[in-house]
Symmetry: C2
Subunit: 344 residues, 2 copies
């Protein structure tokens, strides 16, 4: 068999602010791969089916000397991230051909030779009623972030009020539904009227567009809040601090308002002590081992039955990755951003 | 018996920044009281022995329409705060003459008629080896703040590193000693070399003057820290966030850097999620009921035996209150600021 194309998405330069498709990331179709003969070195070859595009990826587009919880991307190398691949060939009995792998560092390539030493990589079974895309979204890292941290830190009590930012995204939309299942009243915000509509459909009691409505006014009227799920930081976090109830819990999951243009200083943290606030920083990787079995036993069936809803914004082909990365940073995606690289 | 003088300290105007003795607070000796005949209305008459001057009092010097956890002082009325009084006459069998009361709203007057309905007011027994002043300091609210919150939130483990701001103050110095008793390494800062010396005496492994030494440099060298006890906010809190370890615990007790001149925005809170930080806002009033019996059984004996050390900055006479309030806001006190209003 002739060598096959092995297109990839390269990290080309560190973005100044927003990542620019074709500049900071470049689609490259020049490489080929000999699928039948490429050496496996004890590992296995996958065909990439699905890649996830997530907000945290912006943090990896940095100079390698800047430390962070995630590895920086290497200039001239393929991007990588959460994804699903089908095992084509294998020299590793734990990863047999025909099975599927889920990993957090799947290269943005059509084919990759992987080793089991790669961090967080495992064989995954699919619920027949769910598409693979769900396994990088509501049944993947974003859904796990919401589910595991809500379980670990929310201390939610029936009748309380939760406020969720980026409530139409894959994390926020799961949080809204978990809060409703726990009997809470939910206030949620997002950046478009279409997203507001979706948040209402999945159960938000109060949903608003933070670009056209003043968050402080909403919280003043609808608060105080008992739990705030923060994906944005900045002024919305400050507003949440202002209108939290005593013993408010803050689950800090991300601060996308600052990923590209720098974060504003938080002014209202001095309310932490008069209000006896507790704040938890969330990194799903550190909750994963403890909660993963229960998550995979619980959440995919709830998604398959429709009891928990999710929304995907699907693009096709590796060449779309750069555009999708930018859309996610700008909040233009409508649902979990996923790229289908190939059908089986 | 002729009427006695009943001097008091009045709240006269809301400070613009720092409270000015004689302007925002005024000593007034014009009133008298008929000790033997003043009506008690079912309550009791106290002679004030000791008054506490604490940083939080600045927050009560505000316009009454501004909500907070503490009541605002009323212009033209006496200040009040933590204090000890001796009961002179009584119509309340729970507060018999000859006993002593501890309360959080003791008027800044030589004599006051009180009622048991006043918030947090109770008869207190003194360890014969301790002075009454200790009961508003290391054995009072500041000591309780440190002891109760450390017990509740620090999750301290032997061998960890703690960082304590205002480590020479009544809260910070207790935290340093609790951390050492739990087997931690302690870094502590304060604003004078004399305070640095005291912090070393009570066990701090690393003690520095934040006015002459760069906090970031110290933490870069001596950190990372596992627990940060914050009494100051601002740049020191930002430095602590930068040099905290994963799973760092932040106990936010006060932010005196902003009480008089406004608080700087916190820039590094976005490190909460990559570092899985937990932050707890502390208000001792909300921990008091749960921990008070154990506190009073444990701490006064440790103070009396010298196992836990404390330092007092004692002034005499109500006329000194205004100066002491300013000194505390400026950090010029050297030890717990206490005013002895009268000997028994």
């Amino acid at each position: 068999m002739a060598p096959a194309r092995n297109a990839r998405v390269l990290f080309s330069s560190i973005p100044k602010d927003y990542p620019i498709p074709g500049e900071t990331t470049v689609y490259d179709a020049s490489q080929t791969i000999d699928i039948e003969n490429v050496p496996l070195n004890g590992g296995f070859l996958i065909k990439t089916l699905v890649l996830s595009v997530d907000p945290y990826m912006r943090g990896r587009m940095r100079a390698p000397e800047v430390a962070s919880y995630s590895l920086s991307y290497q200039i001239g190398e393929s991007l990588n991230g959460y994804g699903i691949g089908k095992i084509i060939r294998s020299e590793d009995p734990n990863f047999p051909p025909g099975k599927y792998v889920y990993g957090k560092n799947i290269p943005h390539q059509e084919y990759s030779v992987l080793s089991s030493s790669l961090d967080m990589l495992f064989v995954i079974e699919k619920d027949p009623k769910l598409p693979w895309t769900a396994y990088v979204g509501a049944a993947g890292m974003p859904g796990q972030t919401a589910w595991m941290a809500w379980k670990e830190y929310s201390n939610a009590k029936k009748g309380e009020t939760a406020f969720v930012s980026t409530g139409a995204g894959p994390v926020g939309s799961m949080v809204i539904q978990l809060a409703k299942r726990d009997g809470l009243r939910v206030i949620a915000c997002a950046g478009s009227d279409e997203k507001v509509q979706f948040m209402k459909e999945i159960g938000a009691d109060v949903a608003f567009n933070y670009k056209t409505t003043d968050t402080r006014e909403v919280l003043k009227k609808e608060g105080p809040i008992d739990i705030y799920w923060d994906n944005v930081g900045g002024e919305i976090l400050d507003a949440a601090l202002e209108f939290t109830a005593i013993y408010g819990r803050f689950l800090i999951c991300g601060m996308i308002s600052g990923y590209n243009t720098g974060l504003k200083g938080i002014k209202n943290l001095a309310l932490a002590y008069p209000k006896s606030i507790t704040l938890h920083g969330i990194l799903v990787l550190r909750l994963f081992e403890k909660h993963k079995d229960e998550f995979y036993a619980t959440v995919p069936p709830l998604l398959a039955s429709g009891d928990i809803k999710y929304k995907e914004d699907i693009s096709r082909g590796l060449e779309s990755v750069g555009d999708v990365i930018l859309a996610v940073q700008e909040g233009r995606n409508n649902g979990k951003a996923v790229v289908i690289v190939a059908e089986e």
